[in-house]
C-alpha cells in the first residue's frame, strides 16, 4: 500500500484518474491496528483493480481534517479525485467494501 503524506496526497489521490482506497489510521488507534492485517489482505487481493493507500494521521493531521476525517479508523474510496464513499469505525466491513469496490470499477 502506498504511504500518503501531504507531499504526495494530491498526486496519488486527488489528481488520479480511477479508484483510490485510503485507510486513515494511526499507531495509537487500537482498532486501526486490529484492522490493518485485514485491510492489507484486502489491498493485496484486489491489487491492480484500484490504488490502495494508507495515511498515518499522526503526522498528517491537517491533511486528514482537510479530507473531513476527524476520527479513526476511517476508510475512504475516491474516484477520479472525488470522495465517493466513507466508512467509519461502525460501518467498516470488508465484504461491503469489496462490493463497493466492484461497483466503482465495474
Amino acid at each position: 500500500m502506498i504511504e500518503l503524506v501531504k507531499e504526495n496526497f494530491d498526486e496519488e489521490v486527488l489528481n488520479h484518474q480511477g479508484v483510490v482506497f485510503v485507510d486513515f489510521w494511526s499507531p495509537k488507534c487500537g482498532p486501526c491496528m486490529e484492522l490493518m492485517p485485514e485491510i492489507e489482505a484486502f489491498a493485496a487481493k484486489n491489487e491492480g483493480k484500484a490504488k490502495f493507500c494508507k495515511l498515518d494521521t499522526a503526522g498528517n493531521k491537517r491533511l486528514a481534517i482537510s479530507q473531513k476525517v476527524m476520527g479513526l479508523p476511517t476508510m475512504v474510496f475516491y474516484k477520479n479525485g472525488e470522495k465517493v464513499q466513507v466508512y467509519d469505525a461502525d460501518s467498516i466491513n470488508i465484504d461491503t467494501m469489496q462490493a463497493k469496490l466492484e461497483e466503482l470499477i465495474g
Binding site: S26, K28, G30, P31, M33, M70, G71, D88
Partner: protein, 406 residues
C-alpha cells in the same frame, strides 16, 4: 475442527486473558478467540490509574499487552476470529466464527465485554468519525488546539476528559446533574475540578450535533429550564456507559432484560460447563480488576468441573463392572444410613460391582442431569447406561435385587 480445547474463551479483554492465564497454568489446553487486537476496552484508554500495582507510566494498551503476553507465556493460544454462533449444549461445546471456522471445547468461558452506548442524538450517527468519537486515545490528536465537549460524568467520562485537555484547547463537560455532582470517583472529581482547561455545563444534556461534513456546533439543553444553547465545537466525545456485546448469545445462555449474562458466584451460567466473566455479566462494578478476578474464578471453576467430569467418565461411564451411583448429602441423616447399606453390599459382592457417590448439594448439576429429586437415590450403571434406580430408603435386599438387573 479436530482439536478439542479444555477451555475456550470467547473475547480477549482483561477478563478473557485472565481466564487464559489461570487455565493454562492449570495445564489445561486453553485458547482465547478474539476478533481484533487482544485487550478489549481497557486497550482504548491511556488513563489507567486504578489497576492495583500499575500507576504512573502504565497505560491501558501497555497493561493489556502485558496481560496477553502473560497468557501466551503460559501456553494460552490467542486465535483470531469473530464468534457468531455457539452451540453450548452437551459435553462438547462448539463455537463458530464468521470465517466458518468451528472450534470445540469441553468448557467455554464467555468474555465478550461491552461497547460504548450510543444515545442516537440527532447528528450523532452521521458525524461519527467526523468529530463524534467514543475513543479519546484514538482521536485526541485531531483536536489539538480545538474545542470539544464530553458527554457523561462517570469514571470513564471524567478521566477521558482530563486526557483530552492535554490536546484540546477547551474541554466542556456536559453533566445532567446539579452543579458539583459527578458520578465518578472522588479522586478523579477533585482532580477534574482543579483542571483549568475543563469547563462545566450543569443540569444539561446534548440535544443535537450540527455539522455538514464535520462537527460545527452542538445544541445543549438545560433540563431544569428547557433552555437551548448553541455552542461552537469541533468534537463531541461520548462516555455514557456501555452495552453488553451479547447479541450472539440470545437463547443460548440466560441473559437479563438488558442483555447481561446471568452468573452465580462461580461465574457459572445456566448451562453446564459454560461460564461468563467481565463487563458482559450482571455485576456491581465493571472494571479491569473485577474482570480479571472473574476470569480467575471462572477458570478455576472450569478446572474443577472438568476434573469432576473426567472422574465421572472414568469411574462411572467407562467402568468395567456395573456401578452403583449413590446420591446423598451429608446433611440428610437417612442418606448416611443408606450409604452404609450400599458399602456393605458392595463389599459382599467383592469386586463385581463398585460404588460412586455424588453429594447432591455440591454437585447439583449431576443430580439434575439424572433427574434426582429425592435423597437418597441410587442408580445402577452398566457400560455407561442407567439400568434402573431406587428412589428413597432401601434395604440391602433391595440393592441386591437392583444389582441383579445389570
Amino acid at each position: 475442527m479436530s482439536e478439542i480445547y479444555d477451555i475456550l474463551v470467547v473475547g480477549g479483554g482483561p477478563g478473557g486473558l485472565s481466564a487464559g492465564i489461570y487455565g493454562s497454568r492449570a495445564r489445561l489446553k486453553t485458547a482465547v478467540i478474539e476478533k481484533g487486537r487482544a485487550g478489549g476496552q481497557a486497550a482504548t484508554t491511556t488513563e489507567m490509574e486504578n489497576y492495583p500495582g500499575s500507576f504512573g507510566e502504565v497505560s491501558g494498551p501497555g497493561l493489556m499487552d502485558d496481560f496477553a503476553a502473560h497468557a501466551e507465556h503460559f501456553g494460552t493460544k490467542i486465535l483470531k476470529g469473530l464468534v457468531t454462533d455457539v452451540d453450548l449444549k452437551g459435553d462438547i461445546k462448539k463455537v463458530t466464527c464468521k470465517s466458518g471456522e468451528v472450534y470445540q471445547a469441553y468448557s467455554v468461558i464467555l468474555s465478550p465485554g461491552a461497547e460504548p452506548r450510543t444515545l442516537n442524538i440527532k447528528g450523532e450517527g452521521k458525524l461519527r468519525g467526523k468529530g463524534v468519537s467514543y475513543c479519546a486515545t484514538c482521536d485526541a490528536d485531531f483536536f489539538e488546539e480545538l474545542d470539544v465537549v464530553v458527554v457523561g460524568n462517570g469514571d470513564a467520562a471524567i478521566e477521558e476528559a482530563m486526557f483530552l485537555t492535554r490536546f484540546a484547547n477547551e474541554v466542556t463537560i456536559i453533566v445532567i446533574h446539579d452543579e458539583g455532582i459527578l458520578d465518578c470517583n472522588k479522586a478523579s472529581a477533585e482532580k477534574a475540578f482543579e483542571n483549568p482547561k475543563l469547563k462545566w455545563v450543569w443540569n444539561s444534556v446534548l440535544e443535537e450535533i450540527v455539522g455538514d461534513e464535520l462537527v460545527e456546533e452542538v445544541v445543549i439543553k438545560n433540563i431544569k429550564t428547557g433552555e437551548l444553547t448553541n455552542k461552537e465545537v469541533n468534537g463531541v466525545f461520548f462516555f455514557v456507559g456501555t452495552v453488553p456485546k451479547t447479541e450472539f448469545l440470545k437463547g443460548k445462555v440466560e441473559l437479563d432484560e438488558r442483555g447481561y449474562i446471568v452468573t452465580n458466584e462461580l461465574m457459572e451460567t445456566n448451562v453446564e460447563g459454560v461460564y461468563a466473566v467481565g463487563d458482559a455479566i450482571v455485576k456491581y462494578l465493571r472494571q479491569v480488576v473485577t474482570a480479571a478476578a472473574d476470569g480467575a474464578i471462572a477458570s478455576v471453576a472450569a478446572e474443577k468441573y472438568l476434573a469432576e467430569k473426567e472422574y465421572f467418565r472414568e469411574k462411572v461411564l467407562e467402568a468395567k463392572t456395573p456401578v452403583l451411583l449413590a446420591f446423598w448429602a451429608p446433611q440428610v441423616e437417612k442418606s448416611l444410613t443408606s450409604i452404609s447399606v450400599l458399602e456393605s453390599v458392595v463389599e459382599e459382592m467383592a469386586g463385581k460391582v463398585s460404588l460412586s457417590k455424588v453429594d447432591t448439594y455440591r454437585n447439583k448439576k449431576t443430580s439434575d442431569a439424572y433427574n434426582v429429586t429425592e435423597i437418597p437415590t441410587v442408580l445402577l450403571f452398566n457400560k455407561g447406561e442407567v439400568i434402573d434406580r431406587i428412589e428413597g430408603d432401601f434395604t440391602a435386599d433391595d440393592v441386591k435385587k437392583l444389582i441383579a438387573k445389570a
